[in-house]
């Protein structure tokens, strides 16, 4: 049986090298000067006390370039006296497609305007899909989402729950909807 001699396939973008590139050493020197230049540039930044890397130290440092409307961490807004605005109506827990919100209601007979409030309000971030439906469902503007992401890294699913205390930590300097920070009253998350 005769075999056809092997013919190298010609590609349309067959790379060709000039004699300068063929000499190899000069291109090596060029490559080394590029990487070495990056090294010296970054090293100079580190030495002069700046950051010479694009990396963010993730759990300790969050990126500043999240979109302004990023749906990240949930917060519960507060009344002027520091109590949660939430009336424990369970609409958010009902609409939640991931079923990750758990609310336990408490009854306060001393406050006839808002007799119901959450005794427990917890979100399971191992299941949350960050859809924002809870924010849209809320009739009281009690739950919102910040652009920052929650502290997700954890050693187990059990550690990825955000509790009411943490959700009530939101304390901005100014808010268009209501006076912030809340004036007087009880401390956020304090006894009812």
């Amino acid at each position: 049986m005769t075999r056809k001699p092997y013919k190298r396939k010609a590609y349309w973008n067959n790379p060709t090298m000039t004699w300068w590139e063929r000499a190899y050493l000069f291109e090596i020197v060029r490559g080394l000067s590029i990487t070495g230049g990056v090294f010296l540039h970054n090293m100079w930044r580190w030495i002069s006390g700046r950051k010479g890397a694009l990396t963010t130290y993730y759990p300790e440092e969050t990126r500043a370039d999240y979109a302004a409307h990023n749906r990240g961490k949930h917060i519960l807004t507060q009344r002027p006296d520091g109590r949660p605005q939430c009336i424990a109506c369970n609409l958010c827990a009902t609409v939640c497609p991931a079923l990750c919100i758990e609310i336990e209601a408490a009854f306060d007979p001393d406050d006839p305007a808002h007799p119901k409030s959450p005794a427990r309000f917890e979100i399971d971030y191992s299941r949350c899909v960050f859809c924002g439906l809870c924010v849209e469902a809320c009739p009281e503007d009690a739950i919102r989402m910040l652009k920052e992401v929650p502290a997700l890294p954890a050693y187990g699913r059990g550690h990825m729950w955000l509790t009411k205390d943490e959700l009530l930590n939101w304390n901005p300097h100014r808010d268009v909807a209501k006076p912030y920070p809340p004036r007087g009253g009880r401390a956020p998350g304090g006894p009812a």
Binding site: Y24, L25, I28, G31, L32, I34, T35, G36, V38, F39, N42, M43, W46, G52, A53, L54, T55, Y57
Partner: protein
């Protein structure tokens, strides 16, 4: 006699400490330099917590080397079922020991006069003086190449004794590659031998202490720039690092000749590789960068052109020479890491073609030109 013993014990301790420190620190330098070169931060999570406190020492991730070493020591020492036990156990040491032994002939400092350094012991030491080198041998360079040859046996033995196809392929690659590049390395160094007329590394370094062409330091790289490049390339190939890491090509051979090794046996191979980086740096420094010589620095102090003399005490000169050597070696190590993280790997036929069709003729040409030049102008020492 007993004085000699004390001094050489100190030298050996210094050399061993130096090499092991370099081997450990270079793992960290490699990680960090690679990170900085590619806009990253690099390993920085391992820490040592001071007991009973919450103070965690991170130190820029320096403890990652410690963690690696601990991990290798504590891992299971897995052995394949069908292997040659004796050769299998011997191979890592055959790869590791010669690398350490090469340093015996490398001068890491100028002349040490212990009596002058420690006046309290001047009576005991008398006016003895020692070149800072473990073994001053007339055949120093030959010793370097002889031990280089032993390292090949280590790699071959490792690949053969672990009865694994990948290991054997890696060993074959390592053998042919190292023998090819050893030849090139020897030929490039021949040019230097022709110029300096000696194989004694200390004598070679001493001849590099002068000034060439009126202002340049009389280093080997000034007389033999071409040989310097060839030597460094061949040495990196000899160390089997990227772009010449064909024997260990992960994508093809898992880990090459040490595929079947685990725990500290595998650690010895890795450690040998990192120490060899330092050894290559030391050899390059000795042969081409003037060893421990700073320009204008003599054993008595600085002698600048125009007869400006700055006298320095003996201790300062000794420390300066030791430091000069260390800094030069470290810069060379850093350069090798730069090369390793910049260049892609060769194909295997390219590696051998590069050795025999490119570097070998160039080394021969370099030797011929050097020989003619020495015949025409006379040797440097003359």
């Amino acid at each position: 006699m007993i004085q000699d013993l004390v001094i050489y014990a100190v030298f050996i301790g210094y050399a061993l400490g130096l090499l092991l420190t370099f081997g450990t620190v270079l793992t960290w330098v490699e990680r960090k330099q690679a990170a900085v070169m590619s806009d990253r931060i690099g390993a920085n999570r391992a820490y040592v917590r001071i007991p009973f406190t919450q103070i965690k020492l991170v130190w820029l991730g320096l403890f990652h080397g410690l963690a690696d070493g601990l991990k290798m020591l504590l891992k299971e020492d897995f052995r394949p079922r069908s292997y040659d036990p004796f050769a299998y156990a011997l191979a890592p040491w055959l790869a590791f020991t010669p690398v350490l032994l090469v340093f015996a002939v490398v001068p890491f400092g100028g002349t040490l006069v212990p009596g002058e350094l420690i006046p309290a012991l001047a009576g005991w030491f008398g006016d003895r003086s020692y070149p800072m080198q473990i073994a001053r041998l007339d055949a120093g360079l030959l010793i370097v190449f002889a031990f280089g040859g032993v390292a090949i046996i280590g790699a071959m033995l490792a690949g053969w004794s672990s009865s694994n196809k990948f290991s054997l392929l890696g060993a074959l690659r390592a053998g042919s590659q190292m023998i090819s590049y050893e030849l090139v390395m020897g030929l490039t160094v021949l040019g230097l031998i022709v110029i300096y007329g000696t194989l004694d590394l200390n004598a070679i370094v001493q001849q590099q202490s002068g000034v060439a062409l009126g202002f340049l330091p009389a280093w080997g790289i000034v007389y033999q720039p071409f040989a310097a490049i060839l030597f460094l390339t061949a040495a990196i190939a000899e160390n089997r690092r990227i772009p010449f890491d064909l024997p260990e090509a992960e994508s093809e051979l898992i880990a090459g000749y040490f595929t079947e090794y685990s725990a500290m046996k595998m650690g010895l191979f890795m450690f040998a590789e990192f120490i060899e980086i330092a050894i290559i740096g030391a050899l390059f420094t000795t042969l081409f960068l003037g060893g421990y010589n700073l320009p204008y620095l003599t054993d008595g102090g600085f002698v600048f052109p125009g007869d400006h003399v700055v006298d320095l005490p003996h201790a300062v000169v000794v420390v300066l020479q030791l430091l000069t050597f260390l800094v030069k070696v470290f810069v060379m190590c850093s350069f090798q890491i730069l090369v390793r993280w910049s260049l892609p790997r060769f194909r295997y036929d390219q590696v051998l073609r590069f050795a025999w069709k490119f570097m070998f003729p160039l080394a021969l040409a370099n030797l011929a030109v050097t020989a003619v030049a020495v015949w025409a102008f006379g040797a440097v020492s003359a």
